[in-house]
């Protein structure tokens, strides 16, 4: 079984990103970047499936500028076998990303395609489902457990008000929830070795897919802050405010 993992370079999850002062875009100048946390779960799961003997090869793919080499090297250091960078200067939207990934899937022919359930920057949560649709293959999103039995893939996934278990036929697209696993720490020697490994680079223009933006950002802004609240001295005063001022009748 062969696994393809899609990896996005995003801001560190601890960082509060702000708009630029002219509101044209977000300000990522000097912001610490790394592997999208949900993608890290996807990488970890792929490596575990290989360690358990289910997978023979793991290929990592990222789309972006040459800066995205760092997240691919991180994945190599974790245990991915080889990596591909699809070089694109513009930031691609989910539908375009799915079209690019479809081309990579057609070339690599993986049985499992693993992605994070959403990216911390755009917060869209669409790419995996879109890719599965374009490939006309099965999908299982928001996975908290993935098992392989007799060539079938068993997934536990998030639904409204609980979880469900489904079984998908390969090739299949799976998107990882944070609960799927605890990604391993990368050891420094592994990172050093990963620096020496080659990165196959493909220019997005050479893939012959329409990657134009359908959604045009007009402006970005900071959400209005909540109005400054007050401190109450005790429970009685709290309940009095909730009843008299907020009209909550409690």
């Amino acid at each position: 079984m062969k696994i393809l993992v899609a990896i996005k370079r995003v801001q560190d999850y601890n960082i509060k990103v702000r708009p630029k002062s002219d509101g044209s875009d977000v300000d990522l100048e000097g912001v610490k970047m790394g592997v999208n946390p949900f993608d890290e779960n996807a990488i970890e799961e792929a490596i575990r499936l290989k360690e358990e003997g289910f997978a023979s090869e793991i290929v990592g793919v990222s789309i972006g500028s040459s800066l995205s080499q760092d997240v691919l090297r991180q994945s190599l250091a974790m245990g991915v076998d080889r990596v591909i960078l699809v070089e694109a200067e513009e930031v691609l939207q989910p539908l375009a990303v799915a079209k690019v990934l479809k081309k990579v899937v057609e070339k690599e022919k993986p049985d499992l395609i693993l992605l994070g359930k959403l990216a911390l920057d755009s917060d869209a949560g669409q790419t995996g489902q879109m890719l599965a649709g374009l490939l006309n293959c099965s999908q299982a999103t928001f996975a908290s457990s993935i098992e392989i039995k007799d060539g079938e893939v068993f997934i536990t996934r998030e639904v409204d008000g609980g979880t469900e278990s489904i079984v998908t036929k390969t090739p299949t697209v799976l998107t990882a929830d944070l609960r799927l696993n605890e990604p391993r720490f990368v050891k420094l020697p592994n990172l050093m070795m990963a620096r020496k490994k080659p990165i196959e680079t493909i220019k997005v223009d050479d893939l012959g897919v329409d990657v134009s933006s359908r959604l045009n950002t007009i402006s970005v802004s900071e959400p209005l802050p909540r109005k400054e609240g007050i401190k109450v001295k005790d429970v009685k005063e709290l309940l009095q405010k909730l009843n008299d001022i907020e009209g909550l009748k409690i």
């Binding site: 999908q139 359908r214 609240g229 007050i230």
Partner: protein, 294 residues
């Protein structure tokens, strides 16, 4: 109901798609929603568990006849709608907070720290909406129910089983009052002992922070935040919650926010309308005794 409310912005006729097995009752209920023209009912055994591949295929088959396809931003639609959008070769706009004329939208990005205003050039607008930001429609309508021919099963995946959370409480996602506990509760036993009486009195749903879930005090299903459920009740009471970014994201649209924490410098107080610096193990039971709602 709120999704229908948001759809009215376009001033066109509105149809509702209902998919499943044995869904007559749901179709009748939907037909009463105000301002709806038709209910398109796709009823078949293989649609029983609404597998993404089959439901997206139906949306793909009928979608070209519509200008706009809307669903509430739930796990259900987040699973299906992007797939349908890709089949229709259009982009999708997730978790829309505001809809303006000419297909201009506002949605939140970067864990709620940035609001983006964007315009879609696609021939079909596919979007999920943040339900609490739109008004629900009433139930005085009389839409026509149409039994539609169901496409054959794709058989790409199959359903095995489900685990629903058993609870007498209102579902977190649309509760009027939500009480959330953080790691300061100290243990699973105390989490329940402290929060349950107050939740019972207020007929509230109980939520938890990611820290409380990670510590094993509460199941992940009730996690409030970017990595859990996003809520927007009339009253949100944060108990022993520090106020991590990703938690704030999940509750900041609540109408009234109360925070109870013994640390006067806790970040949560910046987002609370009413802050009470107190020992939660004393304040919460006192509050449960004093509230009069039954």
């Amino acid at each position: 109901m709120n999704a229908v409310g948001s759809a009215q912005i376009w001033n066109g006729s509105i149809d509702i798609l209902i998919v499943g097995e044995g869904i007559d009752e749901a179709a009748i209920h939907a037909s009463k929603l105000d301002g709806v023209d038709k209910i398109l009912k796709f009823d078949a055994p293989h649609l029983n568990h609404s597998l993404a591949e089959d439901v997206a295929n139906i949306i793909f088959k009928i979608g070209k006849e519509y200008n706009v396809i809307i669903a509430p931003h739930t796990w259900f639609s987040r699973n299906i709608l992007p797939r349908a959008a890709a089949l229709l070769d259009v982009s999708m706009i997730s978790d829309v907070l505001e809809i303006n004329e000419d297909n201009i939208y506002i949605r939140s990005t970067y864990a709620g720290n940035v609001h983006a205003k964007l315009k879609s050039d696609d021939p079909i607008q596919v979007l999920t909406v943040h339900s609490s930001k739109f008004n629900a429609v009433g139930l005085n309508g009389n839409a026509k129910i149409i039994d539609s021919k169901v496409p054959e099963a794709l058989n790409l995946s199959r359903w095995e089983k489900e685990k629903k959370i058993e609870s007498d409480r209102p579902p977190l996602i649309n509760a009027k009052v939500v009480i959330s506990g953080g790691r300061s509760l100290g243990s699973a036993e105390q989490f329940n002992e402290v929060l349950t009486p107050l939740a019972d009195k207020l007929e509230a749903a109980i939520g938890a922070t990611r820290a409380a879930v990670d510590a094993g005090y509460a199941p992940n299903e009730i996690q409030v935040g970017q990595t859990g459920v996003v809520v927007a009740p009339d009253l949100y009471i944060a108990i022993g919650v520090s106020g991590a970014n990703q938690h704030i994201y999940g509750m900041k649209d609540s109408r009234v926010v109360v925070a109870i924490n013994n640390d006067p410098d806790a970040t949560i107080f910046k987002f609370a309308d009413y802050g009470l610096v107190a020992d939660l193990f004393e304040a919460v039971p006192e509050m449960a005794t004093l509230v009069s709602k039954t």
